[in-house]
Symmetry: C2
Subunit: 293 residues, 2 copies
């Protein structure tokens, strides 16, 4: 990536702002409900990349919007994402002991706590959004966007397909579009809503987010085959052990890599219509393309 240092500086500044906001919106672990908020903060501050809120912020800024206004929505999407990881890791689901090299929520605490922390995070996401003081019509649009993306016709719909097993590549792609794509799309959409996008802006922003969502999963599947377990903070080669359909298993490694490059170029081409204001989002696509964890 050209200008990598500048990109990383801006990326890290965004992550810092998100973490500051999250610190403020999530109650401290104290009082007689310490168990819940301790576990909640453990999972929320476990070193996630904050990609979804970064997208919401970057889209909003690209359109000339006020980044402070998008923050409650950016935080909300990160809370939803975090809850989904906690529930996904549960023994009845993926049964994962480690996440980013650390014990998963139910391993560190217990299963009941992990279920309830996920439930509380989802409620908190909607509470934070409902407390935003910008135009109520836009707030409601954002809430509708997140609720739809998170629910049975979005992320949870993807998860139920995932546990049901996807018999073929088509179902796998649809599952992934819902499970990973829906929240990434919602992040971009909220950036557009708060940034007061013009009608014609939605199409390129939508295509950017959709391509980025697919690219993200293709990269994950590639990293599972040739990534470094230490950098990833989890075992590699798990997909072939569990005989899971992945982009690599149904396309082969080489074609998956070509597809990843194609998707990344597509992201950049679409968003380039916004000129130099889109440089950060273009670089973000490259960054996710090149990432090793």
């Amino acid at each position: 990536m050209e200008h990598e240092a500048e990109f990383l500086l801006e990326y890290n500044q965004k992550v810092e702002l998100i973490n500051e906001w999250l610190e403020n919106v999530v109650p401290q672990a104290e009082g007689d409900c310490i168990a819940l908020y301790k576990a909640l903060r453990y999972s929320l501050f476990a070193g996630g990349k904050r990609i979804r809120p970064v997208i919401a912020m970057a889209v909003c800024e690209m359109l000339g919007g006020d980044v402070e206004q998008v923050m409650p929505f950016a935080c909300a999407i990160e809370l939803i994402h975090t809850y989904s990881l906690i529930h996904d890791d549960l023994p009845a689901m993926d049964n994962d002991d480690l996440r980013r090299g650390q014990p998963t929520c139910h391993k560190k605490f217990d299963e009941a706590t992990a279920i309830l922390v996920g439930d509380a995070l989802q409620a908190l996401a909607f509470e934070i959004m409902s407390r935003s003081e910008i135009n109520p019509i836009i707030v409601l649009e954002c809430i509708r966007t997140v609720a739809t993306a998170a629910g049975g016709d979005g992320m949870v719909g993807g998860q139920i397909r995932d546990i049901g097993g996807c018999e073929d590549a088509e179902l796998h792609n649809k599952m992934n579009n819902l499970k990973t794509g829906a929240l990434i799309m919602a992040s971009a959409w909220m950036g557009a809503l708060v940034g007061k996008a013009a009608i014609e802006d939605y199409r390129p922003i939508g295509i950017y987010a959709q391509s980025l969502g697919i690219a993200f999963q293709v990269k994950d599947d590639i990293l599972d085959v040739e990534g470094n377990a230490e950098k990833l903070g989890k075992k590699t080669g798990q997909d072939s052990v569990t005989d899971k359909i992945t982009y690599v298993s149904h396309m082969g490694l080489d074609r998956a890599k070509d597809y990843l490059l194609e998707l990344t170029d597509n992201c950049k081409d679409e968003i380039a219509i916004f000129g130099e204001k889109s440089f950060f989002l273009q670089d973000l696509a490259t960054y996710l393309y090149e990432r090793d964890n």
Copy 2:
């Protein structure tokens, strides 16, 4: 109860309206996501009493509000309540096999499905509210009310205290106020918000809902001791087997019964300020006092 037939007629009409609305807001079990919606509808239409939405409707009507306007919010609270029962029944939580005489969601389907159905129901609750077309300020107030009541400082906060075990009567009462009381209070609040309550209306409505919420749990605890297992659709005597603190265990059966009567009278006295328009809510308190399941 005087005029029991009239009360039951009105109660059942309300339940019918709720069920019609729920039928419309919950997607049919079809297409490639049949597993999720099949399980979701199984739990949602398992014969619940719909007390929370009935309260929202009755408060709204008492204030002269349009019942159709409160329906999305009444449905939302029922979806939240249903999700909480599904997660509460999970093996890691209460590990219940039966609910209203039928297999619980994770018994009928599986644990992963039950977790995801609960997650989807919570998202759907917020989606439905966000689609309401009444004054956006009121919609946002309702969303904030539900999110706060459902989250870590409300219902989920009560559940985490419940699984942690409540060492004394004070903690038990607080736990119960959160676990059961918060959603009942939110139901009344939404009825008040949509029914455009005057500022001075909130206090009596709030006291009514708070007393009703406690009364509801006291009655549950009494039924666990002297109720009929067949009518209840679940085993009785479970609280003493599990050595749980209940109103009966910390007050004794006789004092718990006195307390129940006192709370019920308190409900009726408070709401009587609204005159004959409050008859239904007064009768509802009596009905819940007299219920045998």
